[in-house]
């Protein structure tokens, strides 16, 4: 009790029975056990992580492939992940106190969970490309259709051109149809509002969960059976539109709602009409978000098989006229070839799946390019 802390009330001091020293300046006393590193990884932690990983993989291999009848890659990954968590817990608790153990285990669980998801994603893509590898290097895959090519003909003959062109045309028509409708619906929901807008929002949200086969059946019943249209790329595009419209409308609605209302108010205060405000202020502000909405819609549409199955038919040759003639598309080509049971057809199907992945990537990049912020042009 050398000094009395003036900051503290005396009563509290009395109960605590301690003296507080207030350091106005001068160095703080050094912490007794060294400063605890919160973010940096020490060598021992790294050793525990790597060692536990090895141990878990080895043990999981023993369990899955030698002892138990779970000899599948999925079982291996799951067992390895669980074992990794267990081993990390035990090893950490040997060298560190309780809170540190909880911290490490939580970190390991999150990292490991992310790794499991990444393994799932990467293995999907790798699997497709590995299975497609025998077919992809042939130039004819991209320059020929399947006209006159039988299921057992070598991969040097025939290709995917008809399916690629069909997919692009169908999705293109679907974009032309859905974008104005979806943007209109989104603008109505956010800018006009009212009771009816709430009804529309409910309907749009319900439609996002629409099973894709129902969309196909709807178009099949209305366009093909009632109106007597034949199976064609246009009918397929209409079915895809039914799938894409709610996705784009809902995403666009969310995007338009986050446009700051200050911008709208400023525009209205300057005397602009509501229409001019929407067209010149709201939509340009939300443009990157609207592009994302379009991407989401296209991503949904380009990979849909079941609406197309009922409405487009599956031609084996290049068809560029979307009216009155059966067409093919990449998902439909993948579906019909992979199910055929013919090894060469299955390889072509995987090649089509790989091309579809690449096509989606190109579409995404294009949409991002079109919608990039003005400042960086």
């Amino acid at each position: 009790m050398t000094t009395v802390d003036l900051d503290r009330p005396p009563a509290e001091d009395a109960t605590a029975g301690r003296t507080y020293v207030r350091h106005v300046d001068g160095p703080r006393p050094a912490p007794s056990r060294g400063r605890r590193q919160l973010s940096a990884v020490t060598a021992s932690e790294r050793a525990i992580g790597v060692g536990s990983g090895f141990a878990a993989l080895a043990l999981a291999w023993l369990l899955c492939f030698q002892l138990l009848p779970w000899g599948s890659p999925l079982g291996f990954v799951v067992v390895a992940f669980v074992l990794y968590l267990a081993i990390v817990t035990v090893t950490t608790s040997v060298v560190s106190p309780g809170p540190a153990v909880a911290d490490r285990v939580a970190a390991a669980a999150i990292t490991g969970g992310a790794a499991v998801v990444a393994i799932g994603l990467v293995s999907t893509i790798v699997f497709i490309f590995v299975r497609a590898a025998p077919a992809l290097p042939h130039l004819s895959m991209y320059t020929h259709d399947m006209a006159g090519v039988g299921p057992r003909d070598p991969l040097t003959q025939g290709g995917l051109l008809h399916a690629i062109v069909g997919s692009v045309i169908q999705v293109g028509i679907a974009i032309v149809v859905t974008v104005p409708l979806a943007l209109g619906a989104a603008v109505y929901m956010t800018e006009v509002g009212g009771r009816f807008a709430r009804v529309i929002r409910t309907v749009v949200e319900a439609m996002t969960a629409l099973p894709s086969i129902v969309a196909g059946l709807f178009i099949y019943t209305v366009l093909l059976l009632q109106l007597g249209m034949s199976k064609s790329g246009f009918a397929a595009a209409m079915a895809l539109s039914v799938m894409m419209l709610p996705i784009i409308a809902r995403a666009a609605d969310v995007v338009l709602r986050v446009v700051p209302s200050g911008l709208r108010e400023a525009s209205l205060a300057l005397g602009a009409s509501r229409w001019r405000t929407v067209w010149h202020v709201v939509l340009p502000t939300a443009r990157p978000g609207l592009a994302t909405a379009l991407i989401l819609g296209v991503a949904r549409g380009v990979g849909e098989t079941s609406p197309v199955l009922l409405t487009s038919g599956a031609s084996t040759f290049l068809v560029t006229n979307p009216f009155g003639q059966q067409m093919n598309s990449l998902p439909l080509f993948v579906f019909s070839t992979v199910r055929s049971g013919e090894p060469l057809f299955i390889q072509r199907g995987f090649a089509a799946a790989a091309v579809l992945l690449a096509l989606v990537l190109v579409l995404f990049a294009l949409a991002r390019f079109l919608a990039r912020p003005r400042g960086r042009r």
Partner: protein, 539 residues
């Protein structure tokens, strides 16, 4: 300002306009008197139809075929959505499950047989770490397996079918098609006709169904490819399922040899199916009946020829034969006639390699009668080529229709495939080459050797024992690997049984071992951490 605002939409519109501009370019390279033909339906027939479409392209015929399933094809046809449909079963009037109408409505049609095939049963049973092959089953055993009455591979009925061959103690998991399918319809037709008492324990209303009922340990799989994948998967040990023969062939999996009326166990090879179908009859009695012109297979199931595969049937093309049909034109009818004439004749030569079977003469003639109806509907159509005497079908000689060519070329089953003999193990299997000619894998000498294993059956077990294996005193089974090179598969009915993979009984012990192993790794660490913790707290 306005210019910039308009930039984004205009760019998108320009881009799409560029895309749509391509649409105006339309290539039609079909011959003038042919027109594009669009059909859909059965996935079962898709392989061969795709081959015919490829073959017909150089002749100037453009045909599109979408495999949307038999029932979809029938519906499309009724709605004038296609120029022809392919289905394994005829119109049913009213679907027994969905109660939906299944009829062609006003569209006039005829049934044309297009390609035959056997419903094959493929299985995945491992014994001694190797896939069992050459399994033989009688129709009754198959019916009991697919109604849940036989549930283990070591069932005495299965052993009896295989002349005492030892099967592992393994639960049978039947795999059925969970989607509506013509393959299921063909299988259940046979079940209902041949084993109604067994079949109706599962399907009380009787008759055929396109949707197989779920039961017991059975696994449903969507589509033939999924059935095949389920069986071929690592986890598929113990499964058996019905698929088209081509799926089993392409996966390299064996198919069950099924007992026929002559007492032989045969595989669904192209020739065995074709021989069976020579007894197929066509219902010609009542033109107003739904079954008019459809197949009557009762005599096929009981065909006394030893080369008969009992579960043989064929699929139909549903032809539009109305003179007033809003989809059909003379050019389309001509394309259809020429396409199917190719299919019935030269095209049948492609059937064998794809796991189908060529149609025999009686069915080709029936088919040509149906094609002639198109001429009756539209006199402008030429059917000059529709003539069995000009037909390049591999089952008969075009110039001499009276000669029973099929009976001459179809190989007889081996003696060891006879009921009560054999079984043939690792022996010659008949594979139909790309030329449509049967070839036997293995020299004739080997086949002869394999055909008399009954004589050496007792000796083979002894030989295996002498070769280092031990015989279990309780079960009489050969333990240990008498010949590690796997040559025991060629021995007689007493095959070696070595449990390489843990069977059902040992799973418990495997689990305990696994727990012990994990405990061994983890428990010392836990204990050490526990003893150390108080020390730390003191500090």
């Amino acid at each position: 300002m306005t210019v910039r605002i308009w930039q984004w939409p205009t760019r998108v519109v320009l881009l799409l306009a560029m895309g749509l501009a391509v649409l105006t370019l339309q290539a039609t390279n079909a011959r003038a008197d042919y027109a594009l033909l669009e059909g859909d339906g059965s996935t079962w027939s898709q392989g061969i139809v795709n081959q015919w479409i490829a073959d017909a392209k150089p002749m100037g015929m453009q045909v599109v075929y979408s495999g949307i399933g038999s029932s979809g094809g029938r519906k499309s046809f009724a709605n004038f959505q296609d120029d022809f449909a392919i289905s394994e079963i005829p119109y049913q009037g009213v679907d027994p499950i969905t109660k939906e109408e299944d009829a062609s409505n006003i569209r006039q049609y005829a049934y044309l047989p297009i390609v035959a095939g056997g419903t094959s049963f493929t299985y995945h049973v491992t014994q001694a770490g190797a896939l069992m092959r050459d399994v033989r089953l009688s129709g009754e055993t198959i019916a009991k397996i697919f109604t849940g009455q036989i549930t283990n591979w070591n069932d005495p009925a299965i052993a009896a079918d295989n002349n005492g061959r030892t099967f592992p103690d393994l639960t049978i998991r039947p795999v059925y098609r969970s989607d509506g399918s013509g393959t299921t319809a063909q299988f259940t037709t046979w079940l209902d006709k041949q084993y109604p008492a067994i079949w109706r324990t599962l399907w009380s209303q009787g008759g055929l169904t396109s949707n197989y009922p779920s039961f017991g340990k059975a696994i449903g799989a969507n589509g033939s490819d999924q059935v095949m994948n389920t069986i071929a998967a690592d986890s598929g040990n113990g499964t058996i399922g019905y698929v088209e023969y081509s799926y089993a062939l392409n996966k390299g999996y064996p198919v069950v040899k099924v007992l026929n009326a002559a007492g032989y166990y045969v595989e669904p090879t192209a020739y065995n199916v074709a021989v069976a179908l020579t007894k197929a009859r066509i219902d010609m009695q009542d033109p107003s009946s739904l079954s008019y012109l459809t197949q009557i297979l009762d005599d096929v199931y009981t065909n006394p020829d030893p080369r008969t595969y009992p579960l043989s049937s064929y699929s139909y093309m549903i032809l539009p034969v109305g003179s007033v049909d809003r989809r059909m034109t003379t050019a389309k009818r001509q394309t259809l006639v020429d396409f199917m004439t190719y299919g019935l004749c030269t095209g049948q030569g492609q059937a064998g390699p794809y796991g189908y079977s060529p149609l025999p003469l009686n069915l080709v003639q029936a088919g040509m009668t149906q094609l002639a109806k198109i001429k009756a509907a539209d006199p402008a159509v030429s059917i000059d080529n529709v003539d069995p005497t000009k037909c390049g079908n591999p089952t008969f000689v075009a110039g001499d229709l009276t000669r029973n060519h099929l009976a001459e070329i179809a190989p007889q089953p081996a003696d060891c495939d006879k009921q009560g003999a054999g079984p043939c193990l690792g022996g010659a299997t008949v594979v139909v080459g790309a030329d449509g000619k049967p070839t036997t894998s293995g020299a004739p000498g080997q086949q002869a050797g394999a055909s008399k294993p009954g004589a050496s059956a007792g000796a083979s077990a002894a030989a295996a024992a002498a070769g280092g294996g031990q015989i279990d005193p309780e079960t009489g089974q050969v333990l240990g690997s008498g010949s590690a090179d796997g040559s025991t598969t060629a021995s007689g009915p007493v095959a070696t049984t070595i449990a390489a993979r843990p069977a059902v009984g040992t799973t418990l012990f495997a689990g305990l071992t696994a727990l012990e192993l994990v405990g061994l790794m983890v428990v010392p660490g836990v204990l050490y951490a526990r003893t150390r913790r108080p020390e730390e707290d003191v500090q």
